[in-house]
Symmetry: D2
Subunit: 146 residues, 4 copies
């Protein structure tokens, strides 16, 4: 695991304020459970209205929490001011996204002034054990706030 020094000591406040403005995260009931420099964790309880045909969390929602965790991992290392947008991501789905709880962990692989590369994983939590559900490799871009 890489150790990063945040450029803005208030990174956590900034990340939490931005997360609070994401309507989708509120709609699905996701919560920001950890914000460290270059690493962010989001947790979600499976709800029936977010599932696919087998009762597992739909791929798009697995992706949404993973993308959000990766984006904020990137933002946590940036100076105050700009925001982070997703350029692209790739996700592999390796096992069913079972409930009751899922956790997404995003981390910075390579920070940069313009582009930041992130990686992340989603795990299904059950009886204290974690099982890998999906893994992401993503490119984020720094953008001036609108």
């Amino acid at each position: 695991m890489l150790i990063f020094e945040p450029r803005d000591p208030n990174f956590e406040t900034r990340v939490r304020a931005s997360f609070a403005r994401l309507s989708l995260m509120k709609t699905i009931g996701a919560s920001l459970t950890r914000v460290s420099p270059g690493e962010v964790e989001i947790e979600l309880r499976l709800r029936q209205n977010l599932t696919q045909q087998h009762g597992f969390l739909a791929a798009g929602i697995v992706t949404a929490i993973l993308d959000t965790a990766c984006g904020y991992a990137a933002l946590s290392l940036m100076p105050a001011g700009p925001e982070v947008l997703t350029v692209e991501y790739k996700v592999n789905f390796v096992s069913p996204a079972r409930g009751p709880r899922l956790i997404a962990r995003g981390r910075v692989t390579k920070p940069g002034r313009t582009l930041t590369v992130c990686a992340g994983d989603v795990f299904a939590l059950s009886n204290g054990s974690e099982k890998l559900v999906a893994t992401m490799l993503a490119t984020m871009i720094t953008a001036e706030q609108r």
Copy 2:
């Protein structure tokens, strides 16, 4: 555009029945607007509770309709019986996912017995014109139904 011959004449009924079982698609209000052999279209009206911080459709939901369109494009070419699961996808986001309407088009690039490669695009529709929002390249796998 490739022309495909469906192996099951009832492909549309099959795809529509499967789509009806996707809770997330119901939750977000997506509808299946076209099912052709190897090509499927899904439409969505932007709702405020699905947005990110700028009021655009969140990337995860853009991805969800794109993935669903690609998955059913693959399923439309398959014989009755098996289902399709997403192995992985990559999405590039190229412009804001503005409302009021978004349309996802998925198509088969290369059908296969085990793996099918699909591509898809999401467009924002406004005043009769279409603007590219995101583009996907995906791998689907044929699986026996549970």
Copy 3:
């Protein structure tokens, strides 16, 4: 197919001059067979020293000609001065990269000042017919020349 207007009328000369500086392309014997605004074609004759275990062109070389075609498709739409670097790409391999000739076609999906999204395909040519070998989705970045 999108129609693009080049910003530099000398785009072809510029692309050809840059291609001539790529040692790897010379080493593998690739040639630039077409340079249009936003679309570039590269051809390669299969050589035994570029193969994998079955005598097909190795995936890395399939990727190399595809990446080069996509990068120059992006460069063809740019003003004189900056160059193009590859941020990332994803490639799906769909059938064996058989000889005797392979052709890579890269095209711009979405041009941009900083980032350009491209797509490309490699085909195996044999007896006048083309068979899809691989398909790419890539992100390119504009960079000041060193």
Copy 4:
């Protein structure tokens, strides 16, 4: 790092025999420096005839050694008999592929009977320090040998 138990005690012999049949690896002068269960390392000395316009290792060759390391990481966990083919990969390029030595490390993220997901990194080695050059996320498939 995950710990894997090989299903075939002769995995290293099998991987080395297969690597020896890859003409491209011979052509570029790559060598297999480590074969562990689920993790493989390949090393390459930069040669001028494999470079792009700035004298760095071309992206396609960076990808070739990364793909080979990932593919053999997958093969190392399989029983004797079948081989591994690349379904698709995504690579992010994060810093110049400088010489004199580059090292690719591929590892299994999720083994499977049909599909195996792998991740890998290429590092530039210079004066005893390693710098990340590129990172890959890949899908491999088990195939009966021809």
